[in-house]
């Protein structure tokens, strides 16, 4: 690709819209009582309803409604008191009824937004057109069987899994904004606990629409749909590729074909999957087997009352309450569990700020190096809190702290255990410490003079020297106390 990225952005503006399917984490499927569970024996979580047997009828799962409403509210959408299920008609072997029950012209919720930060650092609201409920299809398995060259197998366990389809406005301008939009969307779904958003298991799926138009032009260019985006990183990469590809085509005076393309992450390229010459006519019409879905204002209010504090609000509060930086707050609120855990410990800690620092410096660094998540860390947040308290009380130096953390990770022990085991033989005997201080003072007449002349920061130098002499074992609090006294004599 010859066109340079900044050349693209001066000439063209990208217009991106995202369609996200989120599987709702209900106990049972959307229209029947089968377990909503990933990973079971193929075709084991099925019944006449989700198999689309003749005569079987759907009954709407109210937990799915509750989750979809909750997700809508968290995404700032307006929930319609009346929404209508519709049949979307198409033939495919993993769609047993020959139609998917979805929502069409009257979706559950409309007009919401997610906030992202532009490249220029400004806040920008990306509009969400709608959130509607629908059932998932089954899974066609074209590979992995001895006779896969001749046969396709179908697993209908997934059929009837409740989905929320969330459609953005075409208001995303860059691959990075798309990445942010998705990251925030996932975070919100996780905070509200309506989905586990596991992309590998398909519980969050994303398709992107992207078109280019010359800067300043109002009319939209021809859009291309990109599928097979199995991670947010791939979304970003595929969009970057697609924008350059389209810019190059347009730059050479060509046109863009309206089509669906597949992303190949191995090659970092997109390929034509099907052209829209024969656009699908889904022949939507209201689902006669279901009554209109009514979610009264009272019910909406009751569901809203169960919403947890959402990530943005939590970050703002953590920054204000604990003096964290925006970056630290973001790391500590990456998941609701993590944020809750941090808050629990922060409330108990002698210095929440110190706890935050230790978590971010000592803990996160080592986790990153070991490639494990905080949730799997040998040192828990409760353990980190003990470490923070010990430092805060001056019972251990930062050097010892680092060593203890190293040992905890090596031996896969939590901090309290390693502390008990290796509790440093601290020198707290003031006579012994006094002797060391006297020696340091005697050896550093120049620094003493500076100190006495008012350069009180020199205290750090003396502490350092004494710690060095004691091999880090002198109790810092005792050192400090005696040192200040001696130096003021």
């Amino acid at each position: 690709m010859a066109t340079a990225a900044n050349d693209v952005s001066t000439k063209y503006e990208a217009v991106i819209g995202l369609e996200v399917h989120v599987q709702l984490l209900t106990k049972t499927k959307i229209f029947c009582g089968c377990p909503n569970h990933f990973g079971s024996e193929p075709n084991s979580n099925v019944c006449p309803v989700c198999l689309g047997m003749p005569g079987a009828l759907p009954v709407l799962n109210q937990q799915a409604v509750e989750f979809a409403v909750k997700a809508s509210q968290a995404l700032n959408l307006v929930v319609n008191e009346t929404s209508i299920f519709a049949r979307k008609n198409y033939f495919y072997p993993d769609l047993p009824k020959g139609y998917q029950i979805s929502q069409f012209d009257k979706p559950l919720a409309e007009r919401g937004w997610i906030e992202v930060t532009t490249a220029e650092g400004a806040l920008k609201r990306i509009g969400i057109t709608r959130l509607h409920m629908e059932e998932d299809a089954g899974k066609s398995m074209h590979e992995g069987f001895a006779d896969s060259d001749a046969k396709t197998y179908v697993d209908l366990n997934r059929t009837g899994t409740p989905l929320a389809e969330i459609v953005s406005e075409p208001e995303i301008s860059t691959p990075d904004e798309a990445w942010q939009y998705l990251t925030k969307l996932r975070e919100i779904m996780l905070y509200t606990e309506v989905s586990d958003c596991n992309m590998e298991e398909g519980s969050l799926r994303c398709d992107a629409n992207v078109s280019l138009r010359p800067r300043g032009q109002k009319a939209l260019g021809t859009k291309v749909e990109v599928k097979n985006l199995n991670s947010f990183r791939f979304v970003k990469q595929a969009l970057e590729y697609e924008i350059e590809r389209q810019a190059e085509a347009l730059g050479e005076g060509g046109t863009i074909q309206q089509e669906t393309r597949l992303y190949n992450p191995g090659e970092g390229r997109t390929y034509t999957m099907r052209t829209k010459e024969r656009a699908h006519d889904y022949r939507y019409f209201p689902e006669p087997d279901l009554l209109p879905l009514i979610v009264t204002a009272e019910r909406q209010a009751a569901i809203r009352a169960t919403l947890p504090e959402l990530p943005e609000a939590k970050r703002a509060r953590l920054i204000a309450e604990y003096g964290l930086s925006a970056g630290d707050a973001a790391t500590l609120t990456a998941t609701r569990e993590r944020a809750d855990l941090f808050e629990t410990e922060a409330k108990l800690a002698k210095s929440p700020k110190r706890l935050a620092n230790i978590v971010l410096s000592e803990l996160q660094g080592r986790l990153k190096a070991a490639e494990i998540e905080l949730e799997d860390s040998p040192v828990t947040l409760a353990g980190a809190r003990l470490a923070a308290d010990l430092v805060e009380e001056g019972k251990i130096s930062s050097k010892i702290l680092k060593e203890l953390f190293d040992h905890a990770f090596e031996q896969k022990l939590d901090f309290p255990a390693i502390y008990e085991k290796e509790k440093p033989q601290q020198i707290t005997d003031s006579a012994e410490i006094e002797k060391m201080i006297d020696e340091v003072i005697a050896a550093s007449p120049k620094q003493v003079e500076q100190y006495k002349a008012g350069k009180t920061t020199m205290i750090g130098f003396f502490v350092g020297q004494i710690m060095k002499a004691s091999k880090g074992k002198a109790n810092p609090a005792v050192v400090n106390e005696i040192l200040v006294k001696k130096l003021s004599e």
Partner: protein
């Protein structure tokens, strides 16, 4: 014991008093089927063994002297669009020739629980699409009153079985007249409950917003007894209503004095057979004698009912029948090379001509560019039809109309002209579009000795008045 005239009450009475055992009753009916059904063609599947096992169980109950459930020992049969666990269920289609249902329809399990003995599955037009039972993929049904004539459709087997003495009562389904019209042709009683009154769970769908399950019986009271058993809210059907079920059988025999009955002029216009008109007028005179007030009313949008019906019904059918795609069930084309070809061949081979015609029509009216002109417009007119009935029912308690324009026609007489066939439903489709309850009951015979029918329509969920009036109509001579 005259099997042609036996009623539910009589059958149950015989079993309860142990005058006749349920086993003997079942055997007698099975023998009648074996003897006569070769000529009639009402049954697609006879479930002899399970029927006798059930009869034996009922007899054991009767021997103990325990009180028996309401339909104990009553031989019944089921239209083959109702799912019956472990029993072949075909919907009259090649597609389901070897399909064994994995569960029972709600109406079926309620009948079973009430002690009824099912003798088997009844012939019908393929997927309940037809007015003469000539669209069955297996065989036509002949009218027991005149075997050169059709029994009506699509519940032709269900009506014929009652008329021929094969079962005391049957369950049918009615999407545009499919219970009432064959009841009229065969001289039996056929009831259309209010939409939502009887669960559709397990009824193989033709048109979901128009489909009703209902009884075919020899008397109005039998229809009431059967309805009491199958009616009522079912959590498995979201469109089933939570409206209390009255003691319908107690309505039979109640005084009808003071009831106001509407006669919609649009239903007595050109095209109605003179003998049917005269037969209905005789009944109306009799009702006047019983103190009913007969008033002329208007249902002004009636002329649109047939086109609206064929748009709504086919649209829904086109989706409901999409599941028959060759991927599952028994009809898959063998030589298809691609997925598209598999669908095309399987569906071309598996469906009969009428079903294909309706799928095509339904697909067309839902297509981009045609939806507004056909489907949406039809739904708007459906609302107007509903309003017609609401208006009339502010003034009257029930409406009386013909069931069919003519008596039973000959086999083959209308198969060449689908439009003429569709028009034979002209008096029945509106009740399905509006969702009101109705009943078709015998109203004498014509010069050729063929049965004629009369239809009573009532307010939503007011089956009580419909049955009370129907019983009075039945009793007057």
């Amino acid at each position: 014991m005259n099997l042609d005239l036996l009623t539910i009450e009589e059958a149950r009475g015989l079993v309860q008093s142990r005058e006749v055992s349920a086993t003997a009753l079942t055997e007698a009916h099975l023998a009648r089927i074996a003897e006569k059904d070769g000529e009639i063609g009402a049954f697609l599947t006879v479930t002899r063994e399970p029927a006798l096992a059930k009869a034996a169980a009922i007899d054991r109950l009767a021997e103990k002297g325990d009180p028996l459930p309401p339909l104990a020992g009553v031989p019944v049969a089921l239209k083959d669009v109702l799912m019956t666990r472990g029993v072949r269920t075909t919907a009259g289609s090649k597609f389901l020739d070897h399909f064994v249902a994995p569960y029972d329809a709600t109406a079926v399990s309620r009948l079973e629980a009430a002690g009824a003995i099912s003798l088997g599955k009844l012939n019908c037009d393929e997927f309940a699409m037809g007015s003469s039972n000539e669209n069955s993929a297996f065989k036509p049904v002949r009218n027991p009153r005149d075997t050169t004539r059709v029994p009506g459709g699509s519940s032709g087997g269900a009506a014929a079985a009652v008329a021929a003495g094969f079962a005391v009562a049957t369950l049918g389904s009615d999407t545009g007249g499919s219970i009432r019209q064959p009841a009229a042709f065969c001289g039996v009683v056929g009831m259309l409950p209010t939409y939502g009154r009887v669960s559709r769970y397990g009824l193989i769908a033709f048109a979901s917003s128009l489909d009703h399950v209902g009884p075919l019986t020899r008397t109005v009271k039998d229809a009431a007894l059967l309805l009491e058993v199958i009616a009522g809210r079912d959590a498995q059907d979201s469109t089933s209503a939570d409206v209390p079920v009255a003691a319908y059988s107690a309505e039979c025999g109640r005084d009808v004095k003071g009831l106001r009955i509407g006669i919609p002029r649009e239903y007595f216009a050109e095209g109605l057979d003179a003998e049917i008109r005269a037969a209905i007028e005789r009944k109306l005179d009799a009702l006047r004698g019983l103190g009913c007030e007969i008033v002329s009313v208007s249902l002004p949008h009636t002329e649109y009912a047939i086109p609206v019906y064929y748009i709504v019904a086919t649209a829904e059918a086109s989706a409901n029948l999409a599941r028959f795609d060759g991927v599952r069930y028994t009809s898959r084309a063998e030589h298809a090379k691609t997925l598209a070809e598999m669908y095309r061949l399987s569906r071309s081979e598996g469906f009969g001509a009428e079903v294909k015609r309706r799928i095509l029509l339904g697909t067309y009216v839902l297509s981009a560019g045609y939806y507004d002109a056909y489907y949406r417009k039809a739904q708007q007119v459906r609302t107007l039809l509903t309003r017609d009935f609401q208006n009339v029912f502010t003034n009257v308690d029930a409406v009386i109309t013909p069931v069919t324009p003519t008596a039973a026609f000959k086999l083959g007489e209308k198969t060449g002209d689908p439009m003429e066939m569709y028009l034979s439903d002209i008096y029945t489709v509106t009740a399905n579009l509006v969702g009101v309850p109705g009943i078709s009951l015998p109203c004498g015979t014509n010069k050729e000795g063929l049965p004629l029918g009369i239809q009573i329509l009532g307010k939503h969920f007011d089956e009580a008045t419909v049955l009370r009036l129907a019983h009075a109509v039945e009793q007057v001579k």
